[in-house]
Assembly symmetry: C2
Amino acid sequence: MTRTPDSVVRSYIEQHQAAFLADLSDWLRIPSVSADPARSGDVRRSAEWLAAKLRDTGFPVAEVWETDGLPAVFAEWHSGDSSAPTVLVYGHHDVQPAAKEDGWATEPFEPTVIGKQLFARGAADDKGQVFFHTLGVRAHLAATGRTAPAVNLKLLIEGEEESGSPHFADLVRREAERLAADVVIISDTGMWSETTPTVCTGMRGLADAQIDLYGPDTDIHSGSFGGAVPNPAAVAAELAAALHDADRRVDIPGFYDGVIELTDRERELFAELPFDEAQWLKVAKSYGTRGEAGYSTLERIWARPTAEVNGIWGGYTGPGGKTIVPASAHLKLSFRLVAGQEVEKVREAVRAWVAARVPEGIRYELVFPGATRPCLTPLDHPALESTVRAMGRAFEQRILFTREGGSGPAADLQDVLGAPVLFLGISVPSDGWHSVDEKVELDLLAKGVETAAYLWGDLAENFRPGA
Amino acid sequence: MTRTPDSVVRSYIEQHQAAFLADLSDWLRIPSVSADPARSGDVRRSAEWLAAKLRDTGFPVAEVWETDGLPAVFAEWHSGDSSAPTVLVYGHHDVQPAAKEDGWATEPFEPTVIGKQLFARGAADDKGQVFFHTLGVRAHLAATGRTAPAVNLKLLIEGEEESGSPHFADLVRREAERLAADVVIISDTGMWSETTPTVCTGMRGLADAQIDLYGPDTDIHSGSFGGAVPNPAAVAAELAAALHDADRRVDIPGFYDGVIELTDRERELFAELPFDEAQWLKVAKSYGTRGEAGYSTLERIWARPTAEVNGIWGGYTGPGGKTIVPASAHLKLSFRLVAGQEVEKVREAVRAWVAARVPEGIRYELVFPGATRPCLTPLDHPALESTVRAMGRAFEQRILFTREGGSGPAADLQDVLGAPVLFLGISVPSDGWHSVDEKVELDLLAKGVETAAYLWGDLAENFRPGA
């Protein structure tokens, strides 16, 4: 395959930028706030607007998909080559609530360009990042002279991401056949910074647990009985404290079974990121670091499994004192998981650990309300290498790697479709997600378009999933 | 001194029993509920009734003492012997709330004799036990032919004990001179059982503490930051868990400094008590024992200092999960103290322990809202030996020893007056303190009268405080 000069792609993008921004602004004007029942009509309008726009873009299939909640959009464009890889792009068209009165400098649903920034709710999270794929695929076609993309391109644009994706896993399972893909690209994340473009290679999983501990039938007098019967609040504290050893490693036997350790290359690449711990602590609103010995802060939040006390309560919590042995105490824990850990095995380890530690005389219930699996694509995965190359061409810079410490519906796609997940996003930390004055950097948005324009050709050439 | 045959005392008591019970019943009819502002007039009436009755009994001085709350009663009867010991008897004339609708079989403020039990609110806690001293001192005079008791006898009968004695320490300090005594006898406790008469020799002290721990400025996302910053809920748990070592000893350096250990004799005597652990657990509404290694349950609750988690809270406590590192967490602790421990030294030990254990990045406040000192009278104290002898004569049985695990205003008397404190009570666990169907056993009430009748002579003979 002959590579079209990147300058061709760039001039195509430049020529179409004004129309692209005008279209994006139209979409941003639709206040598709999924959390607000009064806006459900707008979410539907947003889905219909997008489906129409994708048909305009050239997608032969662009449908509004119903769920038990708010609608998603699905689009599909076959390459015509039966051996081409199939790529599923994920994003969402719903947005967080926003109102001028919250302190916005501009009307959140009246997109406003100021300098090289476009301000609007959804500009970065996630309409802008979904939308760069429309011009991206057109630039890809223009530059290659193709009439269909070099990969089989599918888009799934959810309408309830900002409401916790309550129907997303069901939708993916229901439509697994039509969603089938060799790789999933999530365009709902960010980069390290304007000057340090990065690709995210994975998200942590999550398993949460609640432990309810019961001691005496009622609160009892600590003078008469204290020091001689087990105190469920003390036991809750003992469990929470026993989660970690002195090195702040999770001290539950079997917890680390299967964990895919960071490679030396990953650690070196993480270490190249211009990380300013003092600045990070300000963002974390925290006053010190504390974590697993032997790992940096970035490694701790991105690549290491953790156990966290999200809530603990038991006994008297009002003003003054009350000398009791409380009747009950409760713990809400969550475990962040990394690739290689299996949710069910972690739960089994937690069950055995709790059973072994709760003393006689304390009854307990342990429940695991939910879980999300981790996902990780190795640095040498060919689809990841294609993404890095495409991004490198767009940014004319070396691309570094990040991971995401949180957990998200990406794992549903990975699990149901059995495909690796990559994260291609051009948002930056200053974009104001979920906050006032959300914006997208126009230069970065153009880089997103350009990356998408290069990516499909590179993937078609270098990623042969069957091989 | 020639001892009057005990039969003389007994027949005197028998002759006066009917009038004694009629008087007690009059007093019990006054609903002196200190917790109910609408009953404050009744508490005052109760004080006035008692002062008049003590004057009738022969006390040359019997006064209603005002406080900033409800009134107490003070009475005094000099022996006329300048070398005689001075004894201060403590009790209270206020009672817990009670209403027939709570499930009483009888009207709580209409004393009712059924068989050999007198049912009424206050029958055991504490009017009955205060009142046995009236007939007791008359029997003492009748049997010895004296016109004044053999000791300088003082009574202080509080009116706010059931409301937490808010003005008691102030009152004792204000009247310290008139209350001066060589020994304090608390008649507001019980015995082991109807068949096992006992004397209580001490109460534990109490120091409570609250620790407020602060981490991030707000709750932060556990996916983005968890595992890399300190979590105040985890630190609260670590502190609570670190209170005890594997042997359930309090693991705060210096905590046990000065503790007066149980003597072998005390341990042997405790072990003679017919203690049924299964039955005790039922009363404790608990399902197992847990405490300091090397000590029995009774030793743990009576004679060992403890650390108890009274309350713990932090983070999310609602339904479902919330993946946060919470901004703050809180601990309410209380320490039971035993003789030899100094409140200020314990506080200093706790301060140092907390300071050493709270990790960087967590700010905290530690406050000690209150404290009550422990009190203990050694088994070989002559006043205690007199009490045991007097009780042994009344019960015609060997008297064993208990202690009280709780903490109370007895310590105020001990501290301000600098006198040892003994506990002479004839109530039994089935008497229903603070519950429905409170009663006193008439046979035991008579034994209380008889013990008081013997005690003053024995003390005058055997207890020479100056010696």
